[in-house]
């Protein structure tokens, strides 16, 4: 069976509330930089969660790393030192956790020495894909298998449906993979008004090693002068039905899939949410359990049509 995973957030309340899911997961995903703090000399050190996470590890569990701070698209030479420090710390974490693979988001989260935290969209150019490939090659010197997640962006430079081509160009090297985040596709499709099937059809699903499933919410009409409401990839709500259907349709077409992860943000699991989240995890497990590889030739159009909202 394809392993099913869950995010470990460095937050005691989250870990307590999600204990049942954490025990049921086959693997755990951590964002390495959320487990660090900076020392006075600039080096990075564990912030106290390493020992706890390792104590939780049982026989059969494994860890994967999913960062947001390496900043795959940044070309600013001034970022090189920070990046070296970052990768040195990831290497130390890898020795501790034995990450099976290490992924980060498409975009630039550190720009001009500033922490944007949200990966900003890149222009989908040859120069940008070359920059991402260089960064992936650096990551590979730390963890052999690396990948890029299709990011969620609220604006794009160009056509959002051109992103799959750009992504595939970024991960074309051996050992470089795609982390397919279905809620990101859903969010982009909702906000930009395209059919998620059109996006998925453009991807080479043989490159996918992990799928992310999560939920989100909507912005308040008061946030924007236009009053427009946007879908947010906030990982704080239920997984939309369409995302479940996307998973059912896409997973069988990813022949190199190594894991499907349910993501949830810390601070968003309140009283009474535990059961609903546990239910989502069991639903995810059930879908993955009944996933059978579909030959690409047969799985094409019918599966894609299943994604179109009724």
């Amino acid at each position: 069976m394809i392993p099913v995973g869950f995010t470990l957030q460095p937050d005691p309340e989250f870990l307590e509330r999600c204990e049942r899911i954490i025990r049921r997961a086959n693997y755990w995903e951590v964002a390495p930089e959320t487990l660090w703090r900076r020392r006075g000399d600039g080096r990075l050190e564990p912030n106290g969660f390493h020992r706890g996470f390792l104590r939780m590890a049982r026989r059969g569990h494994f860890f994967v790393a999913h960062g947001v701070g390496l900043s795959l698209g940044t070309v600013d030479a001034g970022d090189a030192r920070r990046r070296r420090t970052w990768l040195t710390r990831v290497r130390a974490d890898h020795e501790t956790f034995g990450f099976r693979w290490y992924t980060d988001h498409l975009g630039a989260s550190s720009v001009d020495g500033m922490a944007m935290t949200l990966p900003l969209p890149l222009p989908m150019t040859v120069e940008a894909s070359r920059a991402v490939r260089r960064r992936l090659a650096q990551m590979q010197r730390v963890v052999g298998d690396v990948g890029v997640e299709n990011n969620v962006a609220y604006f794009v430079v160009g056509d959002p449906l051109d992103e799959p081509r750009f992504l595939m160009d970024c991960v074309r090297a051996r050992g470089c993979h795609l982390l397919l985040d279905l809620h990101n596709v859903y969010t982009m499709a909702t906000n930009f008004g395209f059919d998620p099937a059109d996006y998925l059809r453009r991807l080479d699903l043989a490159k996918v090693i992990e799928i992310h499933v999560s939920g989100g919410g909507e912005s308040s009409p008061a946030w924007l002068p236009s009053g427009r409401v946007l879908r947010l990839d906030s990982h704080d709500g239920a997984v939309p039905e369409l995302v479940w259907r996307m998973l059912e349709a896409v997973a069988p077409r990813c022949p190199n899939l190594r894991g499907v992860t349910l993501e949830r943000m810390e601070g968003t699991v309140g009283d009474g949410d535990e059961l609903a989240l546990a239910g989502e995890f069991e639903r995810l497990r059930a879908i993955v359990q009944r996933t059978r590889w579909a030959p690409a030739r047969r799985s094409g159009l019918r599966a894609e049509r299943a994604l179109v909202p009724a």
Binding site: E33, W36, R37, R38, G69, G73, T74, V75, D76, R82, A108, S110, V111, D112, G113, M114, A115, M116, T117, L118, L120, L122, P123, T125, E127, A128, A131, A153, Y154, F155, V156, V157, N191, S219, W223, L224, P225, S226, R228, L230
Partner: protein, 119 residues
Amino acid sequence: MKLAEYERRVAAAMRARDPVAAMRAIYPNVDADGVRMTALIVARLRFERLLRGSPEAEASFDRDPAAFADSFARYHAEVPPRAFFPADEAALYDAWRDRTATPPPIRSRIVAPRRARRR
């Protein structure tokens, strides 16, 4: 435009008084709502980083959310987000607050008469 220049200008746009105008100077057709939402999320993520790193800031936010939000908005506009970790963000915020703190009103600095102090 070279990628480095694009990235520098987009990062600046995210903290600009008018992010849409700053972005449209680079890409005239960029979606205004998407740019504004991105700038809001960048600010919000910094806000959360600060609250994680500073119990004092968190307490201040709990006491008076509107006043703290105003203070944070000024901080975000004036201080580039060079901190990647919560404790560093808290240190940046404290330094900014110390620099910009309004001196207490003159009256409060008047030394109380001796008799009053004895009471």
